[in-house]
């Protein structure tokens, strides 16, 4: 599978339930270690798989390696050892020039949402479509559909500072889903929100999973994890210490 062109196709293929072969995992880590320059090991020999259409939480103490794991999936960092596969593509074989293409297939949500504060809500959500070369007429439709999904259609002309923290986070989510990426990863998307808002936001991710996306959310909010009843991957000092299936979450 060529690294550059194959990802979208593989992801789409992997998600087809009617496929005669067993669905390949969308995320597969094989003995992955990450050592930052001059630092200790943030991840140690981490291996797990996340199937197509599956949703999971990554949790663990602060410094456990949750963000590092998500950064490897978006190619914001490279592993020191081991293989990270996304949609059957070994990210180690994706060269620098292939990174933009990969990122267009992975929707990313950040705790600090990383919105452009001097642009309108609409322009922020539109950005991934502009970057991907979607024609303007279709951009408008898709942006409004994404904003409607997160309940912010009425705010499209505002700039992010005019919105509440929860609304800003929802703009970030709209931006992550507007390109319809097969894989959605979120790093502490509810970190700044009150419990009520946090539940609403998580509800959005569950909805995306229900329509076929593969979702991985890093959080240390145990209350929320229990409530959502999804698979939970627990990290401790960069090692996988527990992997709880959705049915076993109590």
């Amino acid at each position: 599978m060529p690294a550059r062109a194959g990802l979208a196709a593989t992801l789409a293929h992997a998600m087809l339930p009617a496929s005669p072969e067993p669905a390949a995992p969308v995320i597969r880590l094989d003995q992955v270690s990450k050592r930052y320059p001059g630092g200790h090991e943030a991840l140690s020999q981490l291996s797990f798989e996340l199937g197509a259409g599956e949703m999971a939480f990554v949790t663990g103490h602060s410094g456990a390696g949750k963000s590092t794991l998500l950064k490897l999936l978006g190619l914001l960092e490279r592993p020191s050892h081991g293989a990270v596969m996304v949609g059957g593509v070994n990210l180690g074989s994706v060269r620098r020039s292939g990174i933009p293409r990969l990122r267009r297939q992975v929707g990313m949500v950040f705790q600090d949402h990383r919105l452009l504060m001097d642009r309108s809500v609409f322009a922020n959500v539109e950005l991934p479509l502009v970057v991907a070369g979607v024609p303007p007429a279709e951009r408008g439709k898709r942006v409004r559909a994404a904003l409607e999904k997160v309940g912010l259609l009425a705010h499209e002309k505002k700039s992010p500072p005019a919105l509440s923290a929860g609304e800003q986070q929802r703009v970030g989510i709209a931006r992550a889903i507007v390109g319809k990426p097969p894989l959605l990863i979120a790093d502490e998307p509810t970190g700044n929100l009150d419990p009520q808002l946090a539940v609403e936001i998580m509800g959005l991710f569950v909805e995306f999973q229900q329509v076929g996306a593969t979702v991985l959310v890093a959080t240390h909010d145990l209350f929320l994890i229990k409530r959502m009843r999804k698979r939970v991957i627990v990290l401790d000092h960069g090692r996988l210490v527990d992997d709880v299936a959705a049915a076993e979450v109590v």
Partner: protein
């Protein structure tokens, strides 16, 4: 909901299928980039105006020198035509011999006019000059020779002019030949030097303009580090990230080119009157000539190219610095 259900059959158009689709995509992205960069320039009107002015002056300076040089050349050529060669004849030559010599010279093809100045005329001219009067009155004899003032035919080139002077020097009756056109050779040498200086100055100031654009674009990039990072996170290619800055460079260049042309036109306007007065004083039919319209038209486009280059260099240096890895 249906939007998401359509996901499988509707991947991102990472590779647009048709050529027309690709062109539409390309055009859409460029329009977005141009709009983004214009918005940025408009967001900092003072900084943008300052950059345009500094660059405009840098580009106007060599143009102004070029303008001055061109006019000096024309002026020199026109003056050269009115210059004559003075032939001081040997003392003791009679009026008849002088008249014969004058008519011989008039017959030459490269001679337009020959005027004769008698010793009496010369003495009268000298006496009219302050300070000479009393001394000259003390002279018993008029020591001045006859002088033939030879005007070369109009349009004579330098070599033919030199040949005429040589021929006059060879005349047995000639005592001394004063070639008033010698200064023309000096002017020509000076103009050649001037052209070199203009070229050098143009190159140096173009380099300065390049640095000014590069610096403005560098500041642009640093001011938008956050935005650049976000664009990279959502999958923008390096070329796409760079494009608004290239457009900004092109806008800076073109704008400063327009400023430079405006400055030169102002200069021409200011100089036309005084130069006409000067030309009238020399009795020539000289007029001030502005720069060629084609040249003026080309300046903003050349400057735009310069701006693009400056932005490209700055982009290569500074855009990689804000990438996450």
């Amino acid at each position: 909901m249906s939007r998401h259900r359509a996901r499988r059959g509707d991947p991102l158009p990472a590779a647009a299928p048709s050529a027309r689709g690709r062109i539409a995509t390309w055009r859409g992205q460029h329009a977005w980039s141009l709009h983004a960069s214009l918005q940025r320039l408009a967001a900092h009107p003072v900084g943008t105006a300052l950059t345009l002015t500094v660059m405009g002056f840098a580009l106007a300076l060599p143009l102004a020198f070029y303008l001055a040089l061109g006019n000096l050349q024309r002026f020199g050529a026109a003056l050269g035509e009115s210059q004559a060669i003075s032939v001081f004849l040997k003392p003791g030559l009679g009026a008849a011999a002088v008249a014969g010599l004058a008519s011989d010279l008039r017959a030459r093809a490269d001679v337009a006019v020959v005027a004769t100045r008698t010793p009496q005329q010369g003495l009268a001219e000298l006496s009219a000059m302050q300070g000479f009067g009393p001394g000259l009155a003390a002279l018993a004899d008029n020591p001045l020779p006859y002088v033939l003032v030879v005007t070369p035919r109009a349009g004579l080139d330098a070599r033919a002019g030199q040949a005429l002077v040589t021929a006059l020097r060879a005349l047995p009756a000639a005592d001394r030949v004063q070639d008033n056109s010698a200064w023309r050779g000096r002017l020509d040498a000076l103009l050649t030097l001037g052209r070199r200086v203009v070229l050098l100055l143009g190159a140096l100031l173009a380099l300065a303009a390049l640095l000014v654009v590069g610096n403005s674009v560098r500041q642009d990039i640093q001011a938008h580090a956050e935005e650049i990072a976000v664009m990279q996170l959502v999958g923008a290619s390096p070329g796409f990230v760079r494009r608004p800055y290239l457009y900004a460079g092109i806008c800076y260049g073109f704008g400063s080119g327009v400023v430079a042309v405006a400055l030169v036109l102002l200069l021409e306007l200011a100089l036309t009157g005084p130069v006409a007065t000067l030309a009238a004083a020399w009795g020539g039919g000289l007029r001030f000539a502005g720069l060629a319209p084609a040249l003026l038209l080309a300046v903003p486009f050349a400057a735009a190219l310069l701006g693009w280059l400056g932005a490209r260099i700055a982009g290569a240096r500074h855009l990689t610095a804000v990438e996450p890895h």
